[in-house]
Assembly symmetry: C2
């Protein structure tokens, strides 16, 4: 294994270990010793990548926005739906997302570590701008405004779902949210072609896993 | 002043004092002594109405949903808009709303004191059901589903606005939210008649204050 690749793996292992400790115990109660034990790396390796617990918390928050959340689709609006629906599906089992939610849950955390909000707004703004160029979006729609509005709606829906069902109804709630927002955004022609069913996130993730498995097979055969 | 009226005033004074202490210091740091001092009532009066800090916190949360948030309008959907827009306008200065937000801000608080969420969902469901009976709403709309969806969106929009601007942009954000949700809910004929401008909340509150002043004048003259 090349040195660079090893460094990337160590970094990833530490971020995942930190996320798991933050998600379970919160930032204040988490210790570097606990993260070290969970990560199974040397103390030197940990501090080489992350000089403090605070830097680690920021790394966990930045790791939330994974760009491999969707497949290219004919409609860019479908990609926007897929981003939100796969995210909803992943939350209950994804320790990095859970840690990010906990770290950014209060004002103190958000002002100290930041949040993934700007990254999500940027990602959705980009998809909506592309959708607009292709004529999928109603003419008066402002991609930034819609992306900011959707972020707020998404954050609250996640919070309510956490409270009411520990996220087990999040897929349904996000599906309902898209159904309530899309008529203000999509042209009628695009609207009727969009799939916003509650199980959309699970289906897209299965597709992504299959595509990743295919890529690995190709890599092994090459 | 009749005894019953005095009891109502004392109760209200204590709830407002408690709200102000909870909003500023949070539930854990607030003490009954501080609330007592702020309320300017006797210890006996306070404990007659509220046996513990926890009961007080629940009373503050229940006091959030004030039914005098809107005036009757020709369109029931406009009343729904007015409820959300006046709430957005009141938050930065209303100590009961601020305390409620702080008390219900985390999972621990919500499971201990409850939240105003069920009351808001009930209120909006009722308005949407009336709007539906009058033909203002698209046929496939389910009032409960839309009310729950809107609650989640509202909660998150409030949270993002608190973080980004300490609520100074909440009126604009809630206006944008209604513009994004109403096309999925209102018939085209109702939609074009709705006022969702960012200053709608301020104008409705001014109207409500004027109406209240008129009622007092009538009461004095009677």
């Amino acid at each position: 294994m090349a040195q660079q690749e090893r460094a990337i793996r160590t970094r990833r292992a530490v971020i995942e270990a930190a996320a798991s400790v933050f998600a379970e115990r919160g930032y204040a109660a988490a210790t570097m010793a606990e993260i070290l034990q969970q990560a199974g790396v040397t103390k030197g390796a940990l501090y080489f990548h992350f000089e403090s617990k605070e830097v680690l918390a920021q790394a966990v928050i930045n790791a939330q926005v994974d760009t491999e959340l969707w497949m290219p689709r004919e409609l860019k609006l479908q990609e926007w739906v897929d981003v939100g629906m796969t995210l909803a599906h992943r939350i209950p089992d994804d320790v990095i997302l859970l840690a990010g939610i906990r770290l950014s849950a209060d004002m103190q955390g958000r002002s100290r570590f930041g949040s993934a909000w700007p990254a999500w707004i940027g990602l959705v703004t980009g998809l909506l701008a592309q959708a607009k160029e292709r004529g999928e979006v109603l003419p008066h729609v402002d991609p930034v405004e819609t992306a900011e509005c959707f972020l707020g709606a998404w954050v609250g829906t996640q919070l309510v779902s956490e409270t009411e069902s520990r996220w087990s109804d999040l897929g349904r709630r996000i599906s309902v949210l898209y159904n309530h927002v899309l008529p203000a955004v999509a042209t009628p022609a695009a609207l009727v072609r969009l799939d916003t069913a509650p199980d959309r996130g699970a289906r897209v993730l299965a597709e992504l896993q299959e595509a990743a498995a295919d890529r690995e097979l190709v890599a092994v055969q090459a």
